[in-house]
């Protein structure tokens, strides 16, 4: 695994601690409470899914973890160090691939290395990351030439090339068609198993959360509190129709206040 062959061996993953985090936005003079006393500890290498109603502040927690914003109260710690600014060790993958349309696929993936002045020495890492998402033949394509699934794979490669120890995924497959979504879920899973980063996945797809995560955290409506925490102790690969998963799905839907007969 070429991406792992760093001169300085770094730990492949970090822990993320969320301590009593509350956050709010000012909206046209009103204060909109988004997060209310979130308490969460993610172990190194763990895959945690955040599940909740839309607009419940799941994405806000990811922005805070990425360091794009500071919480109004509480603190977020990466391996015990407070998170105050964005850092390439924690990369956020958005629902939209948000590729830079003026850059080829190769240069999109190279962005992080270029921004930190590492590109000259580490050009091969761009090629490796593209190979990892099976897009090496599209290196010179522009984003508008890609399908939705390919674009999202480029976005994931753009994150992975930086060797993130914490990958923050904000509904990364939300806009993909259902077949593409299934194959992307498998790809993400195998990347996580191969590379070994800590993953925090925001999703509103209960099945996706149960298929991928070690632990599923269920958020309430805004302002979000954690209403349930479900450990999924099944080894990967998991089957969608596994009776235990079906049972868990029923339980999760119940915590979200939705009948499982849907």
């Amino acid at each position: 695994m070429a991406l792992a062959n760093e001169a300085v061996a770094r730990p492949r993953s970090v822990s993320l601690d969320v301590h009593a985090v509350s956050h709010a936005y000012d909206l046209e003079g009103r204060v909109l409470d988004v997060l209310d006393g979130i308490e969460l500890a993610v172990r190194p290498g763990e895959f945690v899914a955040l599940l909740g109603p839309s607009g419940s502040g799941k994405s806000t927690l990811l922005r805070l973890a990425a360091g794009l914003e500071r919480p109004r109260a509480g603190a977020l710690l990466e391996d015990g160090q407070p998170i105050t600014a964005p850092d390439p060790s924690r990369i956020l993958v958005f629902q939209d691939p948000t590729l830079f349309p003026w850059r080829t696929v190769w240069w999109n993936v190279a962005t992080g290395l270029e921004a930190r002045g590492l590109l000259a020495k580490h050009r091969h890492r761009v090629d490796d990351a593209l190979a990892l998402v099976k897009l090496e033949t599209f290196a010179n394509a522009y984003p508008h030439q890609l399908s939705g699934g390919m674009a999202q794979r480029v976005a994931i490669a753009r994150a992975l090339v930086n060797d993130p120890q914490l990958l923050l995924l904000d509904e990364p497959f939300g806009k993909l068609d259902s077949l593409t979504r299934l194959s992307m879920q498998n790809e993400l899973l195998s990347l996580w198993q191969k590379v070994g980063f800590t993953a925090l996945l925001v999703t509103h797809d209960v099945e996706e959360a149960l298929l991928l995560a070690n632990r599923v955290i269920v958020f309430s409506d805004r302002p979000a509190r954690i209403v349930a925490e479900i450990a999924v102790d099944k080894p990967h690969p998991r089957r969608r129709d596994d009776p235990e998963l079906v049972e868990l799905r029923r339980a999760v839907l119940a915590t979200l206040g939705i009948s499982a007969d849907v």
Binding site: R63, T98, T111, G112, A115, Y142, Q145, A159, N162
Partner: protein, 331 residues
């Protein structure tokens, strides 16, 4: 499936057939051009204009070339296709020259000095060619210095206005006030501030080019999708990287709209800018000839100016297509 094969087959036949055929539009065009040549030499001018023989020779040569092309154009491949595409234009030009000749020089319906036949304009280039050439160089020097310094300053100002909230707070209202004022209105002030009239002229051209570039660059930079900045920041980008590698490339489509506007504005003020004590230049030449009712010279110069302007616009399009190739499919 069979339909597709048939369609392909018939398409192949059609092109083979047209290859064997003669290019009719070329023949009609040749006819019109030949008629112009004959009329120009055969009928006397109402008032002498000069260069009638030369014009007849040129249009006659054009007719000869068009005749040859009419039989050979299908063998010229891609260039031939372009020539065929412009066939109707060659016909129109020939008819236009003919009507123009007849109504001005031959019948005098459109009289001297207000109108000129085509060979009258040709005569200007023949008689005053060297002086016009010097004027072209002077104009290009003034335009080049003004345009490029204007768009450089306008671009930098636009990036600052679009990027920095503080620069925007102070700069945007000023720009919005100055923007609609015609650049030529600043002539009195520029005379006071600039040591030479040449520098003042450059400033007027620069101002007319700089303002649209500044406004559109600013709007381009400030309308960049915020998510691009978030992505770049999580990937470790600093402010410098955000400006040069995200904000500027993302706003280039806007910048190019500004550049096209700058080009037109700068050409429009060029004539006025050359009134400021210039000794050469196409604008100066137009002014000078107008004073002596040399309208043929004025028309001849206007043709030169529009050809230069069209050429520069073409260059700008080429530059845009090279730089903004990534936009294909987005537009």
């Amino acid at each position: 499936m069979t339909d597709a094969i048939q369609a392909l087959g018939s398409g192949g036949y059609a092109s083979a057939e047209s290859a064997a055929r003669i290019w009719k539009a070329g023949l009609y065009a040749a006819l019109a051009w030949a008629a112009t040549a004959v009329v120009t030499v055969a009928l006397p001018d109402v008032v002498p204009w000069g260069s009638a023989g030369l014009f007849a020779a040129i249009t006659g040569a054009g007719a000869a070339i068009l005749t040859v092309l009419a039989f050979s154009v299908s063998r010229l491949g891609k260039a031939g296709e372009r020539i065929i595409y412009y066939g109707p234009w060659f016909i129109a030009l020939g008819i236009w020259f003919l009507l123009w000749e007849v109504s001005t020089a031959k019948l005098g319906w459109l009289p001297k000095p207000f109108f000129s036949p085509p060979h009258g304009l040709l005569n200007v280039y023949v008689v005053d060619g060297p002086r016009l050439l010097v004027c072209i160089l002077y104009t290009l020097r003034l335009w080049g210095l003004g345009f490029f310094s204007g768009i450089a300053v306008g671009f930098i100002a636009g990036v600052a206005l679009g990027w920095s909230a503080r620069v925007n707070y102070w700069g945007m209202p000023v720009l919005k006030l100055i923007g609609p004022v015609p650049a030529t209105a600043w002539i009195p002030a520029t005379f006071y501030f600039f040591p030479t009239t040449f520098a003042a002229s450059i400033f007027i051209v620069a101002l007319s080019a700089g303002i649209p570039v500044a406004i559109l660059t600013a709007s381009g930079v400030s309308s960049v999708n915020r998510a691009f900045y978030d992505v770049a920041r999580t990937l470790g980008a600093d402010n410098r990287y955000l400006v040069f590698k995200i904000a500027i490339p993302a706003s280039l489509p806007h910048v190019f709209v500004g550049l096209f506007m700058a080009l037109y504005y700068s050409f429009a003020v060029l004539v006025v800018a050359e009134m400021l004590g210039a000794k050469y230049g196409l604008g100066w030449y137009i002014q000078f000839q107008q004073a002596y009712s040399g309208y043929a010279n004025v028309y001849a110069t206007l043709i030169i100016m529009s050809v230069i302007c069209a050429g520069i616009i073409k260059l700008l399009f080429v530059a845009r297509d090279r730089l903004l190739g990534w936009q294909k499919g987005i537009l």
